[in-house]
Amino acid sequence: MYHYNDFDEAFVRERVAQFRGQVERRIDGSLTEDEFKPLRLMNGLYLQLHAYMLRVAIPYGTLNSRQMRQLAMIADRWDKGYGHFTTRQNIQFNWPKLGEVPDILEALADVEMHAIQTSGNTIRNVTADHFAGAAADEIADPRPVAELIRQWSTDHPEFQFLPRKFKIAVTGSPNDRAVTRAHDIGLRMVRNDAGEPGFEVIVGGGLGRTPMIGQVIRDFVAQQDLLPYLEAIVSVYNLLGRRDNKYKARIKITVAENGIDEIRARVEAQFEQSKAEWGGFDQELLARIEHSFAPPVFKRAGLEKFNANLAANGAFRAWCDTNLSEHRDPEHAIVTVSIKAHGATPGDASSTQMRVLADLAERLGYDELRISHEQNVILPHVHKSDLPEIYATLRDHGLATANVGLISDIIACPGMDYCALATARSIPVAQEIATRFDELKLEHEIGPLKIKISGCINACGHHHVGHIGILGLDRAGVENYQITLGGDGTETATIGERTGPGFPADEIVPAVERLVGAYLEHRKSEEETFLQTYRRLGMDPFKAALYPEKAQSRAA
């Protein structure tokens, strides 16, 4: 795990002290809200419908048990006993009081955490594959590079006032679990013909009101050229990106308006010009960072106990089937802990649950935890012989739901239950879908299916890349939900297509049920997933199921 050096520590402490002064001056009236707002946003403090909200970065989704316990402490002491894990590997506290936020930031600094650049037109928290360092299919752990990017981008003097926010995601695997194609810059580790690792660089992806899949700007950038190349991209964007219209300011629009070839030519020119100035200090830094991400020494304990439990306990077996992923060490497994119990709020964990997870990580997981963009918590390294104990502990705390990747493992943004920008609620829709399919006892039969819900066009819930996407809108003063189908956030990224008119709140769950019914009816076999069936058959059978009246009137 990376540990702050003296510089990081001093920087974060100084920022807390500065912010404490700014909050005091806002409260005593010497700062206006216009002056204060950019300052609070620089420190991750938003104002929502019912309260302030503090967004804390979890760089590349990695936490240790001490940090998780501190988040639990913060939730209990200054919030309402829970936190909300988001698709951007952040945690959000929904109820902080303005005067107490500096104390929260101080408590975060105590465990090497902060809320810097979780807002504003800066390079945001760098996200990474949540299985980084553990996945069997990985070329190398992408987190050292993510940490390097974090250090380079934090407080970067040239990039504090970009045309718009800027999001970077990194994966070390060919299987993309970090949605790299929906980011301003996506990095995919690949090997060149000589077998050396480097990165495929993808630029101009993004969701929001103009969803776009990123394009490859260069298919191989050697590791030592990565920062100079990234800096070249961001400086070209800083110059070309539109500042006249907030809705055209993201790099996806810059790429679309100028064309990828023009952007590539400019980036190459900039890169050629500036790379000599780098002089290799970034590579020395990277070498030091890599040291702190050395994998743990994996223990050896045999698999007899695990196999015996698998055979004896059906519930354990079902949980293993859905919630485990292949680890690079054959005696270990990656555990995805679902924080999506049927009917619960996607992404919310109580302080008790956070402590349980911290204890398990410390005792049985080499002290490592990850937060996934799918709003679950990962124990990346668990010896298989410890799985029965982990399962039993999770079950005692409502954390053993066996639904990872299934219809109730829903991503939902906070929507109009919290967010000031929302046009409709998303959480209740997620709760109702999960509850309904749990009642029907159908979800294991349905198999892999990703539902993603956003409460407005900003698409924080990734609805465009959901196999079934749901977007909450305000139609003449009533909540209304629009459906998209066929979205995909992986290496075969696709933006979903709209089915047609939306549905009022009380009709959205039945609509999803009809979609699932159409899939079960039309799939070739149990092995063909929802997405595969959709790709094979297209929209028609699903549309017919969604809008039966229309299909009838056409037939008449």
Partner: protein, 100 residues
Amino acid sequence: MTRRPFAPKVVAANDLLDGDAVWLTEEDTWTRDMGEAELIEDEAVADDRLLFALGQANFVVGPYLVDAKATPKGPAPTHFREAFRMRGPSNYPHGKQAGE
């Protein structure tokens, strides 16, 4: 085109320290119960009250005018967004519905 009649309004905002929803009263104070707010029936008065609210930066953040209707219990929201602000989130009994 004829102008649509003016829909009655209240001035809404968030409290500076707690961040929760508050509404402006006739007495120039801020209330946590929309029913106690001032229902403004005239457009010129509405502009004037918003201007006053914008000058209250030591108490509130982001004041705005929002539609409301008269009821026996005082002004009530006409749109679900303001109704949610009056009540709190739907996934937990937090916020105003918990008497906070």
